[in-house]
């Protein structure tokens, strides 16, 4: 297995990420994991990507890269009970931020299609350089404060704070764009509910929506 080399590779990228974050708070980059689940919780589509706004490279850097896929799916699935409750109290399609998983600093945002598919987006801010900045637990909010006072706040705040109104609006735009592509997929007579979405064009569209809004 390439596990060893993978781990080395990712730790070096984490270091790079930390340095740039340290130097410039506005370059704080979010990692995203987006998944579509059928009404019966079958995964139909998955994609991981990172912040593109504010000069981000669009590459996800999860905190624990070796276990990221498993962890992300685990976190998303453990938010489903909350989602089901929200589903019957909030009649919107976009349910906004529904759950947080503190151990991984992961935030879950949800969008429900009327036909019962669930779009779930996990956001994870990068590891803050806790060894250098003390009181790190509050690091992300203080960084937001700094960024919020600058003129280019709107793009960077998406990355900095998963629950801010700007982020919720950006995610809403992202979800709506994915929804449009999803409806196009579902309209084809050969697509049956619960089928995995394999179209490379669909993947490209989701990637583009991520680049555009997140």
């Amino acid at each position: 297995m390439a596990a060893a080399s993978k781990a080395t590779a990712s730790s070096s990228s984490t270091v790079n990420g930390s340095i740039s974050t340290l130097n410039n708070p506005r370059l704080l980059k979010m990692s995203y994991y987006f998944t579509i689940l059928s009404p019966t919780d079958t995964p139909l589509f998955n994609i991981a990507f990172g912040t593109s706004k504010g000069g981000g490279d669009g590459i996800a850097r999860f905190r624990f890269p070796e276990t990221a896929q498993y962890m992300n799916q685990f976190i998303i699935h453990s938010s489903l009970d909350i989602l089901e409750e929200a589903q019957w109290t909030n009649s919107g399609m976009y349910l906004k931020h529904i759950d947080t998983y503190p151990p991984a600093a992961a935030y879950i945002t949800a969008f429900l299609t009327p036909s019962g598919a669930r779009f779930l987006l996990l956001h994870q801010p990068p590891n803050l350089p806790s060894s250098t900045s003390t009181g790190s637990g509050l690091g992300s909010s203080s960084l937001l404060g700094t960024a919020g006072s600058t003129t280019r706040a709107s793009s960077s705040s998406i990355a900095a704070n998963p629950t801010s109104p700007q982020t919720e609006e950006a995610v809403r735009q992202f979800m709506s764009e994915v929804y449009e592509s999803y409806v196009k997929t579902a309209m084809s007579p050969f697509y049956k509910q619960g089928m995995e979405i394999k179209s490379p064009v669909f993947r490209t569209r989701v990637t583009a929506a991520g680049k555009k809004w997140l």
């Binding site: 997929t185 007579p189 050969f190 394999k198 179209s199």
Partner: protein
């Protein structure tokens, strides 16, 4: 009859004498039919094509009555005129499209219909199973419709698709060949 006049007839009938329905209901219903056939025939697309053609044939035999009643047109002078009538009146009033008639053979017995628009195929993406794009003619029912309706007016024809944008081709083209004029025969039994 001149080609422009034929176009005008088609337009006029479509505007004034055709009861309309939401196009998407038709599109989605046709999609349902094809998807159901693919399921029933276990994705044996040759069989699906055949079944679609057969359904179209049954439709064609009934549709011609409706066509003649609405259009009031008489017998065409030749096969070229027939082709024009099919494209500009027939397709216009039943599918609200006017395919282009082209690629005639020198003996005027074969032509192509090129479909710029095909409402039957709206929203459709063929199954990504490595075969459907090579084997399934999604709109094959149209071949049967032509075969059935022309047979009722004493023309035996053969029709098949040669390309389809759903398969990744640049055009959707149906090839139509006149086999013979049927003289003094009883119309065949329904299939």
């Amino acid at each position: 009859m001149s080609s422009t006049k034929t176009s005008r007839i088609g337009e006029e009938i479509w505007k004034t004498r055709v009861d309309k329905v939401n196009a998407e209901l038709v599109t989605l219903t046709y999609g349902t039919i094809v998807a159901q056939l693919c399921q029933d025939y276990d994705s044996n697309y040759q069989d699906v094509n055949k079944q679609l053609d057969k359904m179209g044939y049954n439709i064609g035999m009934r549709l011609i009555e409706d066509f003649l009643a609405k259009s009031g047109v008489g017998r065409c002078a030749n096969f070229r005129e027939t082709a024009d009538m099919i494209a500009k009146v027939g397709f216009k009033i039943f599918l609200n499209v006017t395919p282009t008639v082209t690629n005639w053979t020198s003996d005027n017995t074969q032509f192509s219909l090129i479909f710029e628009d095909n409402p039957l195929a709206d929203f459709v993406e063929l199954p990504d199973d490595g075969r459907a794009q090579d084997e399934l003619w999604f709109s094959n029912i149209l071949c049967g419709v032509l075969r059935g309706s022309l047979e009722m007016v004493q023309m035996q024809i053969e029709a098949h698709f040669v390309s389809d944008v759903l398969r990744g081709d640049d055009t959707t083209e149906m090839r139509v060949s006149l086999v013979r004029y049927i003289e003094d025969e009883m119309p065949p039994e329904e299939e």
